[in-house]
Amino acid sequence: MTKSTQSRWSLRVLGLGYLAVLLVAPLILLFYKTFEDGLAAPFEAITSADGLHALKLTLITVAIAVPLNTIFGVICSLLLVRHKWKGNWLIDAAINLPFATSPVVIGLSLFLLYGKQGWFEPGLSEAGIKVLFSTPAIVLACIFVSVPFVVRETVPVLQEIGTEQEQAAETLGANAWQTFWRVTLPAIRWGVAYGVVLCTARVLGEFGAVSVVSGNISGETQTLPLFVEKNYENFNLPGAFGAAVLLAILALIVLMAMNLLKRKEAT
């Protein structure tokens, strides 16, 4: 064995071994443990009233938070890239904040804004709107954590495509809407889609921020990740595993979508 093949093999063993121990082994074990005693128990746990409600609430959250952040993301990217403004760096910095903020801190900040003695509390209780410990707070937390994704994926694509085609469209008489729908959006769509996938993954799995503001009441304010935690702490392992496997399968679908979109983007 020559020296170079020797070092190649040692790198392979180190790198792939690390991945196998850190990522692959736990994932395989999760599936094994869940289905060890058959499909019935985990299936029952997910299809229990609380399980179904958690799934529904999670999907509702995704259905609200992801489109809102997508619209915001596209408009914000266009502003950042195509419109020079001296305040752009501030917008850019504010968008990075959710990355720098611990999920539990995000939850706490919402808790303090909408909770008792919070800034918004007097107005909200007068209007009879309950935010904290109900769906609105969960949605707000998920929007907060996933604000940056679409922007961060769209900005580089917008920079890369340049403005030549948009200028051509404009020269040919297209108005701003036409230019956007027919030229800009088709050019950035895979970037946007990639951001949407990341955003969805984050909203689906958000735990820390939601756990602070939701109250974690089974069948009411419990999302799937909270359902996993509560069942684990109540020693209802089939319930925890069933929901965890469901989330893991969703994560694997997200992974596949990410890879597909990356390939589309590359072509």
Partner: protein
């Protein structure tokens, strides 16, 4: 929306900065600022207000009491260990994915992003299955400090790999070959050629991983728990919220947030330095991490050196159009 172009047969050159359909840039800007304020800034402002509501002295007490100091020390040390481990292994993995060929490479490449896609609480649950008291391999380090490190390694793994990978792809083999032909050995080539070229990406990836590790909550919660010697700051904040000590939780949150912001600020500096370094060298390896999200989208992040001159988003001039090019 489908208004005919024929309505204006002669291209109207008006509103060239007007790139946002339907709404003017001013309106769009108003919407963006309002949204960010409502969603992100107001809650954080309320938290800052709360942290100082009982005076600066109380704030200081809350962040300097023994439990707080211990948790901060713990998370800082653990995060440093984690980014060191992931810097080494992340670079090796990126190297394998770019320079090596082995069966199943595309699957390995895909699975790197798993920690981004997998909910953190699920990560915690599966790590405690593998390394807990029911461990199939008989190794139990759940609820110890090692568990914190392993959980953080799991969630931050993709950052370094995805930051280094594009640099390796773009790196010229010429330099390595030249060095080899001049008699340099493998370790010299790595030390003098490869490593300096990877450094900007590696540093950015490490800073991102560090920022993420500092605030990590879900994956640590079940696996490392909140025992007295394994309570990291995020867990301590969670405990304080449950105890109703909102001021203390808010004060600690501010400290944690500031530490992560310093990291993100460092990333910006590293990028500036990287792009300047690169321009000076004229090399093709792009440091395209304009976005502090070193995820799988890295391909789109690498840009040519020319593009990099535009720097951060927003600094790019909207147009370089010459009027006389059009008649």
């Amino acid at each position: 929306m489908e208004a005919h172009a024929a309505n204006s047969p002669v291209a109207p050159p008006r509103a060239r900065q007007f790139r946002l359909p339907g709404v003017g840039a001013g309106l769009g800007r108003g919407y963006v600022v309002l949204w960010l304020s409502l969603i992100v800034l107001l809650p954080l402002a309320a938290m800052t207000d709360k942290s100082l509501s009982e005076g600066v002295g109380q704030f200081w007490d809350q962040v300097t009491n023994p439990a707080a100091i211990q948790s901060l020390e713990l998370i800082l040390v653990c995060s440093l260990i984690v980014v060191a481990v992931n810097a080494v292994f992340g670079t090796i993995v990126a190297w394998l994915l770019v320079r090596d060929n082995f069966p199943g490479k595309s699957i390995v490449n895909a699975i790197i992003d798993l920690p981004f896609a997998l909910p953190t609480i699920v990560a915690s649950l599966i790590l405690i299955q593998l390394w807990g008291k029911n461990s199939p391999v008989g190794i139990d380090f759940a609820l110890t400090r090692l568990a914190i490190v392993v959980a953080l390694c799991f969630v931050t793994l993709p950052f370094v790999v995805r930051a280094v990978q594009p640099l390796l792809i773009e790196m010229d083999k010429d330099m390595e070959e030249a060095a080899a032909s001049l008699g340099a050995g493998g370790s010299t080539i790595f030390r003098r050629i490869i490593f300096p070229n990877l450094l900007p990406g590696l540093a950015a990836g490490v800073a991102l991983a560090f920022a993420r590790a500092l605030g990590e909550y879900g994956s640590v919660l079940l696996f490392a728990g909140g025992k007295s010697d394994t309570t990291v700051t995020s867990i301590l904040i969670g405990q304080k919220i449950e105890q109703g000590n909102e001021t203390g939780a808010a004060a600690l949150s501010i400290v944690l947030l500031l530490m992560a912001l310093v990291c993100l600020f460092l990333i910006t500096l590293i990028q500036r330095w990287g792009s300047r370094h690169e321009r000076a060298q004229g090399a093709g390896a792009g440091v395209g991490l304009t976005m502090p999200l070193a995820d799988g989208g890295s391909e789109t992040l690498t840009a040519d050196a020319d593009d990099l001159d535009t720097g951060a988003p927003g600094t790019q001039p909207g147009f370089k159009k010459e009027d006389d090019q059009r008649d």
